[in-house]
Amino acid sequence: MDSRLANTWRLTVNEKKFIETALASDLRIDGRKPLEYRKLTINFGREDGSADVQLGHTHVMGFVSSQLVQPYRERPNEGTMSIFTEFSPMADPSFELGRPGESAIELGRIIDRGLRESRAVDMESLCVLAGKLVWAIRIDLHILDNGGNLVDAANVAALAALLTFRRPECSLGGDNGQEVVVHPPEVKDPLPLIVHHLPIAVTFGFFSTEYTMVVDPTHSEEAVMGGRMTVTVNASGDICAIQKAGGVGVPQSEIMRCLRLASDKAESITKNIKDAVEAFNTERMLRKIKRHSTAVAANVSIENDVKGQKDKLTAQRVNELSMSQMERLKLKPDESSISQNDGLGSEIRSSDQISNQRAEGNAPLFLGGPSSWDPHTQGVDPDFLKASLAAQGKSNPKAEQSSEDSDDDVAMQEKEVSEDVKPPSLATDSSETVEEQKTSIVKKTLKDAVKPKNRRRKKTRS
């Protein structure tokens, strides 16, 4: 880091010599080859738009948030993006609280140039009301541990956070179409940002000995090296930014070699980021399916799909169907946002469809329709109750209570199932698996702690 700051850890002369001598034989002190990158791990938080990146010992977290603001005068129909870096003193003894140091500002500007000038994030799609309201995207990067090469790690964190960030959808309303209504995530699905390409930063370190160059320097190597160069390149081979801020002189041929090396590295890192984001998105879809059901649970409780949706999805099923669910869910928000009743009507219609298809599998339990909103008109399926009682094998009084429990729990489960069980393909399967699902449902009501609500109910009762 900056050797002029207080508390800098300085390398001893012996250590410096050792690093340089080892490099002369193409060896680095952590065992890597000169052109080898460290292992990159990307994790995500629960919220959209938060990423946690570890590059060897370097640990950076990125957060993305959005806010409606007035646009700049010169660009009335573009959103804004700003990057803030926090060099926490716990990361490195030379970082101090308060105003960012030179290296913090340089890091922020390198990442900013890579994202802004190369137009990686589409700014015009962030415009809500030209000249009045646009979305301002704010990227916060927190350095938690400085193991060297903060720029690359912070860049990956920023990209990962941007890719998983979802901004609320807003629509124009009001008398003259000038009022902006921001829809909360429960009403309308938040939208992702439009990211055209991913600019990846690759940092090279140059040493005073001729033509020695390393990729992804560690902290000790940074203290020894004479100069550094950060190349921001995307997977299609376009150079988005280069930053070589002085330091030891390097011939032009060497620089071109670095540029080509960076393009290669960028491809693998882009793939890494995309895979991690994919995994997170899939997981979020799963969570969203259940969350969507609880959001509508209040309405659905009176819908009495208890019998209709006996088939309980196993986790695998959910996975398989998550993709088709996603399509449905995409359609769903349109319906659900119209009005509760309409949404409900659609639930009932589809549950109708399913219950009709199930008719052959089981005794027709109910025929759907608004008349069956009262859960007590048709009661609970007696077969179901018996099965649940038998499976529980508890003492009678408790069984009674637990049957109530399980009934309610089953109701809750059914409710969430009702949301899941929209595609007709599932309905066809359901008839076959009714029997096993009775028991499987029973098992799950006690042991499956899927829904926090269920858990809470159980706790209050028992």
């Binding site: 500002i105 000038e117 004479g226 376009d238 801020a245 002085g246 390097v250 032009q252």
Partner: protein, 241 residues
């Protein structure tokens, strides 16, 4: 907007490979150990060097080499609209860092341990390429101060608009949103010290534009050498040699 018209002329009448008019003056600040004014077209920059002198902040003292400090400021009146904060904003801090590291690489700091060299650069008129003008002015000022250097550092910018590489962008061309490559070059050693680029470009075009900027740096180096020789002749004359 057309930056290169069909005849091949740019907005200010230059050809794509043509640099703006250069003008340099040594010894503008009498109080400083070394100083220079450097003009590239309408961009005018003044640099002052103090050093080697005693280190002011003892915690930064280095036993084996000189400490180099640099401060880049833009005068309030330098740009079209009056600037509110001449220094301390992020861009100025970054450019200060960049200039410092560029000059540090070419000053023979190990010859002056336990001392400090201060470079102050102020932009008087900004019309694109201020970074380059500052580095050129700092080189002249350091030479005027008699500080030993490995080589002259010269800097020039180049861009790519309307599918043509352009040398030495002015403010209009710079703010067009196209790529802007600034190169800091050591002509005798044939090495690149500073390289900054923004906006997207494929790799081969980067190579072309960088090559063009390096040619520009070599031309500036020739001019700077002339100016220094002329200055030395004047000094000899005044000393009666």
């Amino acid at each position: 907007m057309e930056f290169v018209n069909p005849e091949g002329l740019r907005l200010d009448g230059r050809r794509p490979m043509e640099m703006r008019q250069l003008r340099a003056e040594i010894g503008a600040v009498a109080r400083a150990d070394g100083s220079a004014v450097f003009e590239m077209g309408n961009t005018k920059v003044i640099a002052a060097v103090y050093g080697p002198r005693e280190v002011q902040n003892k915690s930064q003292l280095s036993n084996d080499q000189a400490l180099v400090r640099c401060e880049y400021t833009m005068a309030n009146f330098s740009t079209g609209d009056r600037k509110r904060k001449p220094k301390g904003d992020r861009r100025s801090t970054e450019i200060s860092l960049v200039i410092r590291q560029t000059m540090e690489a070419c000053i023979l700091t190990h010859l002056m341990p336990r001392s400090q060299i201060d470079i102050y650069v102020q932009v008087l008129q900004a019309d694109g390429g201020t970074r380059s003008a500052c580095i050129n002015a700092a080189t002249l000022a350091l030479a005027d101060a008699g500080i030993p250097m490995r080589d002259l550092v010269t800097s020039c910018s180049a861009g790519y608009l309307n599918s043509t590489p352009l040398l030495d962008l002015n403010y209009l061309e710079d703010s067009a949103g196209g790529p802007d490559v600034t190169v800091g070059f050591l002509p005798k050693l044939d090495k690149v010290t500073l390289l900054q680029m923004d906006a997207k470009l494929p790799v081969d075009i980067v190579e072309n534009v960088m090559q063009l900027a390096i040619e520009g740096c070599k031309a500036i180096a020739t001019y700077i050498r002339e100016v220094l020789l002329e200055n030395t002749k004047q000094l000899e004359y005044r000393r009666g040699l």
